[in-house]
């Protein structure tokens, strides 16, 4: 199965977006005649694999290499670099070129920046005196469909970059991607943003519209396809990513790590005989069974798989014991076609249960629950202290420590210093840098005000008792009882805008913003929508309004699942598309904060 997802069921024309990117890339290759060596920034190869098959690149005369510090070795006389605009990558390019010149090799060099060229990079090239040797171009890949309802801005944006280093480059890129989207879908009339980065993106987007207006009258788009844009900064909700995700896809990411819509694991787990080999399993909605199960709570996935297997076994016995009509046989064979999918997911699920059945897993979920409840300070403190003493893996401890700090609006000075010192003693003094970054990001800090977590939790009904994971009626099923704060906010933003929520929003980090754009004053904003006449009409004509939810900073699979759940609810008058910078989980998010002194 291909890693390139099928986009036919997308609510807006995502295929067009992807085709445009594909064409642009292939044209770049075609315009450079003859054989060439295509040198790819390793961080881009994932994105490219969602765009074109590598065989297609080869058909266009390209031999593939990854860009590393080592000079490129190739026989080809034309070298094409395809890289993100990062100054440090420029050094690698320079070293290849210098290496060639020192050997007296003359090649044609082409450099394509993704998504656009930057002065800072070109300056490096100029300093190294290779600027004139390069033909420079752009591959303007600002956005890429990851799945039929998920768009990725292909930014390796880390929370650290935004929160600690104050680099805003990514915000501009996100705004640019949305603005580009508007050229084909019309200006999005309602924008709701929460959090510093989100507000900044909204701000830049408005600015772009004045600079380069999407002209609605000339393009012949009568109405915008997307009704509302909800921008949410990760900093608003750092609780959710710290919790262990309990959806199928979320759990796979937690334990095995999903990269560009695929997971890599030992072939033996997938029932393959070759020992030691790695197997790559694509995970996207082209896989029907995965499409059905990815967003379910893992407990339920096990049941679903069991059910399916049982019914198949039944069919099998029937087929072998009783005589069947041809059409019944046909149905059975059809079912057999889904066998590889069944096997794949049964293998995966079984592998996951080896982790989830451990008592330590249950213990951890218990503790996460206790932390979020924020009623038993001492139990939490003792537990974390013990983890530090036992030198449990740092990112696991930090996940809980961050939860502890946020739910208590920071730690009392005495405990703050104590836990920090304990951490240094366990993991080494260089983690002073980790602590510094976390503090600057506001994730681990000294208590300076009265806690407001309890208010937020209550007002937004984040903890839901008696969650039925099999037939859920609320998003809280994704964490078996905790409704992700971020998605609750989105839920409100879609339903009634920020107005009704103002008091609570003030308690969360960053500014909030709500604007109407593009002279669509005549369009009702559906401020009070669900259940209104309007919504049923919309459903009647087969098309629901669209809401684009963009996460500035990472987002977890569990949150995506929760959004899908919202979208699939009956009373819901909207389809949702999700824009993400990248998928994270607690571990990957925290890893960026961990001391880089060793690097």
């Amino acid at each position: 199965m291909s890693q390139i997802p099928n986009l036919e069921n997308a609510p807006i024309n995502l295929t067009e977006i992807r085709t445009r990117a594909q064409t642009e890339l292939l044209n770049i290759l075609r315009d450079i005649k003859g054989d060439k060596c295509l040198v790819i920034d390793p961080k881009l190869s994932g994105a490219l694999s969602l765009l074109v098959q590598s065989s297609e690149l080869k058909e266009n005369g390209a031999e593939l290499r990854h860009l590393t510090a080592e000079p490129i070795q190739t026989e080809r006389t034309k070298v094409v670099f395809l890289v993100r605009a990062q100054p440090d990558l420029m050094r690698f390019i320079c070293s290849t070129i210098h290496n060639d010149t020192s050997k007296g090799l003359h090649r044609e060099y082409y450099l394509y920046f993704v998504p656009r060229r930057l002065v800072s990079c070109e300056n490096v090239l100029a300093e190294e005196k290779v600027r004139e040797l390069l033909n420079i171009g752009e591959f303007s890949l600002y956005m890429l469909p990851l799945d039929e309802d998920v768009l990725s801005f292909e930014l390796d944006l880390t929370e650290k970059e935004c929160l600690v280093e104050g680099d805003e480059t990514a915000f501009w890129n996100i705004a640019k991607a949305i603005h580009n989207l508007e050229f084909s879908c019309g200006v999005i009339p309602n924008v709701r943003a929460k959090g510093k980065g989100a507000a900044r993106v909204a701000d830049i987007l408005t600015r772009m519209q004045t600079e380069e207006p999407v002209n609605t009258s000339n393009m012949g788009i009568p109405l915008p396809e997307i009704n509302t844009l909800v921008l949410l900064d990760r900093e608003v909700d750092m609780i959710t990513p710290m919790l262990t995700q309990l959806t199928y896809e979320g759990l796979i990411d937690e334990f095995l790590g999903v990269k560009n819509g695929a997971v890599e694991l030992d072939a033996s787990i997938m029932g393959n005989q070759q020992e030691g080999k790695k197997a790559k399993v694509p995970l996207n909605s082209s896989d029907k069974l995965f499409r059905e199960t990815r967003d379910l709570n893992f407990e339920v996935v096990v049941q679903v798989l069991r059910q399916k297997a049982t019914s198949m076994k039944q069919d099998y016995t029937e087929i072998s014991t009783t005589t069947q009509t041809v059409s019944e046989l046909k149905d059975f064979v059809k079912k057999l076609n889904s066998l590889p999918e069944m096997t794949r997911h049964i293998n995966l699920a079984q592998h996951l249960t080896t982790f989830t059945s451990k008592s330590i897993f249950a213990e951890r979920l218990d503790m996460e629950q206790t932390l979020v409840e924020a009623q038993s300070y001492d139990i939490c403190f003792d537990y974390i202290e013990e983890l530090l003493c036992k030198q449990e893996p740092l990112e696991k401890v930090l996940r809980l420590l961050i939860l502890f700090s946020i739910t208590n609006s920071g730690l009392p000075k005495k405990h703050f210093d104590y836990l920090r010192r304990e951490l240094l003693i366990s993991y080494g003094p260089e983690h002073i840098n980790t602590l510094d970054s976390l503090e600057k990001a506001g994730l681990l800090r000294k208590q300076d005000s009265r806690g407001n977590w309890l208010t937020i939790k209550r007002a937004l009904q984040l903890l839901v008792e008696d969650t039925d994971t099999t037939n859920p009626n609320d998003i809280s099923y994704v964490f078996s009882g905790y409704a992700p704060l971020s998605i609750r906010l989105v839920q409100h933003a879609i339903r009634s805008g920020w107005r009704s929520l103002e008091e609570i929003l003030k308690l969360l980090p960053g500014p909030q913003l709500e604007t109407k754009r593009g002279g669509f004053s005549s369009i009702p904003s559906y401020d009070t929508l669900p259940g209104s006449l309007n919504s049923s009409e919309k459903l009647a004509n087969g098309r629901r309004d669209l809401v684009l939810v963009v996460f500035v900073g990472g987002v977890t699979f569990a949150e995506i699942s929760a959004l899908r759940f919202l979208s699939s609810q009956e009373g819901m008058a909207y389809d949702l598309i999700i824009g993400i910078t990248k998928v994270v989980n607690g571990r990957t998010l925290i890893e960026t904060f961990i001391s880089d002194w060793d690097k």
């Binding site: 002065v119 300056n123 680099d167 830049i204 059945s357 030198q391 003693i425 002073i432 510094d436 002194w597």
Partner: protein, 827 residues
Amino acid sequence: MAGVSVAAEWQLLYNRYYRKPELYQMEWKQVDLTRNKIACAPFAGPIAAIRDDAKIVHLYAESALRKLRIFTSSGRLTAEAVWRNPGGRLVGMSWTDDLTLACITQDGTVYSYSVHAKLLGTFSLGRECFDNSVVDCLFWGNGVVCITEAFEMLAVPDFKAPRAVKLADCGLEELPHCMAVIEPQYAKSGGVEVLLGIGDHVLLVDEGGIQTLAAGIGPLQKMVLSRKGEFVASFTHDGRLLVMSSDFSKEFIDYTCESALPPDQLAWCGSDAVLLYWEDILLMVGPHDEPVRYIYDEPIILIPECDGVRILSNTTMEFLHRVPDSTVSIFGIGSISPPALLYDALEHFDRRSAKAAENLKLICSSLPEAVESCIDAAGYEFDISLQRTLLRAASYGQAFSSHFRRDSVRELCQMLRVLNAVRDVNIGIPLSLQQYKLLTPSVLINRLINAHKHLLALRLSEYLGLSQEVVIMHWTCTKISASAMIPDATLLQSLLDKLKICKGISYAAVAAHADKSGRRKLASMLVEHEPRSSKQIPLLLSIGEEHSALVKATESGDTDLVYLVMFHIWKKTRPLARDLFIKYARCYKHEFLKDFFLSTGQLQEVAYLLWKESWELAKEPRAKGSSFGPRIKLIEKASNLFAESREHMFESKAAEEHAKLLRIQRELEITTKQAIFLDSSVSDTIRTCIVLGNHRAANKVRAEFKVSDKRWYWLKCFALATIQDWDALEKFSREKRPPIGYRPFVEACVDAGEKAEALKYIPKLSDPSERAEAYAKIGMAKEAADAASQSKDSELLARLRESFSQNARGSSIFDTLRDRLSFQALS
């Protein structure tokens, strides 16, 4: 009937009618075409006139100064300039496609003038022309061919790339009788091809070589090619007009004229008639039958157009063209064709005569064609009232006809409105409909702008739905150039008033023009209004507004622009600062940053840098041993810097402890002779000591760092379990009653999978529920259940039962699943 008077002015040539309506009475006075060199631009373009220096000057009657004068097609003077150019006689001049006037003098210099008679530039055709004067030249659309006294031929294929190429030497001994050019776009070779009438044959000359054509045709006196170069019309020495294909292989017309004297002018009228002009007489020859004769008592100039010929005389401008079929069908004498009847019906209708209905009845079946013809005929008319009548006839007919493309009347009206506007004598561009279609609206608007008819151009763009940006932009730049005396603020206001008409116009481009025109202040005022930061900021930099550029770049959120400004500032100012910046960028060393943080008073940041530096020293392989001293020093410095502010006491102490740890670790490495301690954590150091069996050292480190009992017990239990020293573990448990209970002992054993060892400590767990879970972990279900029931914690009991049953069932479930799937082999 009204139609009669229209047709009365037509002349019949073979089976076609021709007419030559007067476009203008020329507005000029005292311009004698015979005494001037004249260049008329096609597509109803301007007329350039300059006194012919080959003619004797009439003293007193005309000025001795030669003036280049530019007129519109209606003869209105738009610009003039005194001709003082050196280079000898003016050999020829002509308008290029983009309406610049190219003038060639004897020495081969080409002077380019704008429609405002401003010299735009000059270039030379080369040495050959300088040495041997140019004697003759022949222009076409965008190029020229010259012949020198030495009979060399040169061509400029395109004035846009002013470069002369030499054509093949054809060994001439005398000037050719006549010359014609096949334009590159129509030539077979793709380059310039020249036809020369030499002796009794024709030479085809291009860059590469020579070809003889039409040998024995007899000396040709005049030669002219049709517009697309497929036919050639020529006048022979014995007074015959020949029309042949341009390769002289086929003959279409051979007409013997009354005079063997070659005509002054020979021109194509459309593609099916040829005009010959001798003084007083203009002869139009068609494919068959008698030619048409027009008498002129004043000199004329023939200006070929795509659909006819304009005839310029001292007093009038006429347009000779074939009468279109639709017009013939309406106005032809005695015509009873449906269009004529429709036209007639309208007249009856206007007179309220019932005959209107009769007419309509007669033509009801062909009404759509009749309507179409009326619309078509209206398009060819120059007379506005006739246009109106024809269109009224069309819409009258349309009312009775259901299937008709209703847009066509509207489209034609739109085009006619545009044409009538530019045909106005004040504008003087008498374009026909075909010419307009060929020229395209946007070129027309560019020509209007070029002639500084901005208002009309603006109105037309608006009317045609074209972008007004071009017009406004040109107007603004022209206005700036022309307003040297107007103060900045006033000028700015009048510019802004117009610029705001056009959304999305580039203020930066206007500002750049202002800057180029030496008005930097105006430029900076204008660039303020540019909404696109990516255009605004580079300009702000170029006019020296770095600070404002930096502010705008930051606001835009585009970090690339911020970098652009920063690099610009660094490059421009302070070389030292620049070097430092480059150094920072190159090595990513801390020096630059450190200076920066020091200057901004962020001491803690400096401290972090020092600390990091100390850490990196350890990573340098060659400096492993020797770096120790410097490392300690750096950390202590960091500690002191942290201590400067109260908020960083924790960091200060942490740095102190780090230094202490390093010293202890170094000592340990020396005593144990093992390089395994440096840069590990306190916990790891203690564990290493225990693993090495050095309990004294472990205790010492524990004391130095006041390690808590909790940590100490966990650490030691796990360390002993790692080396599987179960005796030591047991001894440790007996040292004293463990202050944090026996859990560390149990977990250490359970983790190591030592069930027996674990059982030593599980009973000692004080909390029955802990005990229950511990039993559960090592799979002793019964004991676990006992302990759980002891704890009277029903929830725990339930959970344990669940976990046991689930574990067992869970695994067996998957086993069965696998079994069931084994029939995969069947498929």
